[in-house]
Symmetry: C2
């Protein structure tokens, strides 16, 4: 069993082409020869391959929506059941929590009309969604964004390519790389308004953090901004949270019921009557962001 | 009293030149005609001017070290007492907490050997330091980093330039802009090690956050990485914290005494004997990062 490698492998850099899945595997770029996701539940995903097999994948200029694993008929390749939060899907959810870089490879046509796999570079999982795919069955979709390497930041790196250096003992070495994850904290008129309304107290735990320059809280969008969620930046869609509950909410650890009781955590949402929360946003988060255990995830399409 | 403006003002963009402080003020780029920092304690700093008056300022390619306000003799311009955490200095500390963009203007020589003020663009305050300046007196230094506008991110913007549009009622309008702050979470072999060592429990409050894909904690460098601190990425210099205590620690809300009792918060550091914490790193954080109230800040140079 070899150690997972996060970051670039060997001298491979974005744009490099590999002839086949076998070649990707031999160079330890993407080790499994068939599976599209190379991940463990504990460490998260180290690499994924985008082929044309998942109809819900979307590649955009500045992000990728990548469909999770499972639920397809092995013969026809069609989606025939809901995906569950297990195995590789749990691995991609782990990557969202750790912020570690994921290598992305994509199947492309070559000029000779053959196929090759292009290394697209390092990406981070920045959000997730449990949604109904084109097939009508529930699928996980993960949003991946390219890792921006800042001038002052060391390049995230992985291990040497084993084929480049036969004497390497990389197989036994600890995974070496360095990465910086950033948690996005949005600051808009609306987010300032919700913090003022709650006097910077967390709507989950009532914590009020005091910094030397004043109070500190974060505003969390219930239905997230940006694709694939496209939640609005309005007061009905934001909560005032402490950083702890903000992280847990975004990672899908808990949700808020119609009666404002928390789901997945004890307690209720603290709530001011002037704060007209949007029931549709709370429902969206319950259905699409809140991650239940595997058995519950299957049942989640029946939620409301 | 006009409303503070965060983000670009009018059509001014990085590289634009302004003839004088008066012109900067008339265009609402940097409103005070003398003070180098335009800030309120509540909202933080909206703009600063780098002149040649503070001997401890440093301009680097990818960051600026900006000296806080005060402690200089009005006649000679020399630093004659310690700076205190009051007024504009508290405003810059507030900017670190809110993450809002600060406009930076810099005095430059023109080809005709005159002086002008160049708009350097939007920056964020990313860390602070209370240190002994060249004068031998205590000064605050704030690290400012350029705001990187991502392709998918709306450009942070401010209000129209009043001189561009005389009919504008901008003076009364609420501050409009949108910004995304990112909190950097580092992920290295050392940060993974400390999280494993403490089983993802916060060394301050013993909280263990459970996400659907596993435990969540953050590693905090005691003496921060990067300039001006240059702390090392070693186990002796990291703590395993929950996001709440990580934010408070970085903002200087509390420190850890030699006896591991917390300073500025009740309680003691949870600590495993195998974790050989560096006393020198704890001392650095106490002296240079921990922000006391004004009267205590003056006394801080006598700390150990």
């Amino acid at each position: 069993m070899s150690v997972p490698i996060f970051g670039h492998v060997g001298t491979a850099r974005p744009g490099d082409l590999f002839e086949s899945r076998l070649e990707l595997s031999l160079h330890r770029q993407h080790r499994p020869r068939q599976a599209g996701i190379c991940a463990t539940q504990k460490e998260g995903a180290e690499s994924i391959v985008l082929s044309d097999k998942y109809e819900d994948d979307e590649v955009h200029e500045d992000y990728i929506l990548y469909t999770g694993h499972g639920g397809r008929d092995p013969e026809s390749g069609k989606q025939v059941t809901d995906q569950t939060l297990t195995d590789a899907n749990l691995g991609l959810a782990r990557s969202e929590a750790t912020g570690r870089p994921v290598r992305v490879y994509r199947k492309v046509r070559t000029s000779s009309n053959g196929a090759a796999f292009r290394y697209e570079g390092l990406f981070r999982v920045t959000s997730h969604q449990f949604t109904t795919g084109k097939s009508g069955f529930g699928v996980f979709r993960f949003r991946l964004e390219p890792v921006v390497v800042m001038p002052s930041e060391p390049l995230p790196y992985g291990l040497p390519d084993l084929l480049d250096d036969a004497s390497s003992t990389a197989q036994e070495a600890a995974p070496r790389y360095e990465a910086t994850t950033s948690r996005l904290i949005r600051d808009t008129a609306v987010t300032r308004q919700v913090k003022t309304m709650y006097k910077y107290r967390c709507q989950m735990c009532d914590t009020q953090l005091q910094s030397p320059s004043g109070l500190y809280a974060e505003a969390a969008h219930i239905k997230p901004l940006g694709a694939p969620h496209h939640g609005p930046d309005v007061l009905a869609n934001v909560l005032c949270l402490c950083p702890n509950h903000h992280v847990l909410f975004d990672l899908g650890s808990f949700a808020i019921g119609q009666d404002l009781a928390l789901i997945g955590l004890p307690g209720r949402l603290h709530y001011k009557p002037l704060h007209q929360l949007g029931a549709e946003f709370l429902a969206y988060q319950r259905q699409h962001i809140h991650l239940r255990t595997a058995s519950k995830a299957v049942a989640s399409s029946n939620d409301e």
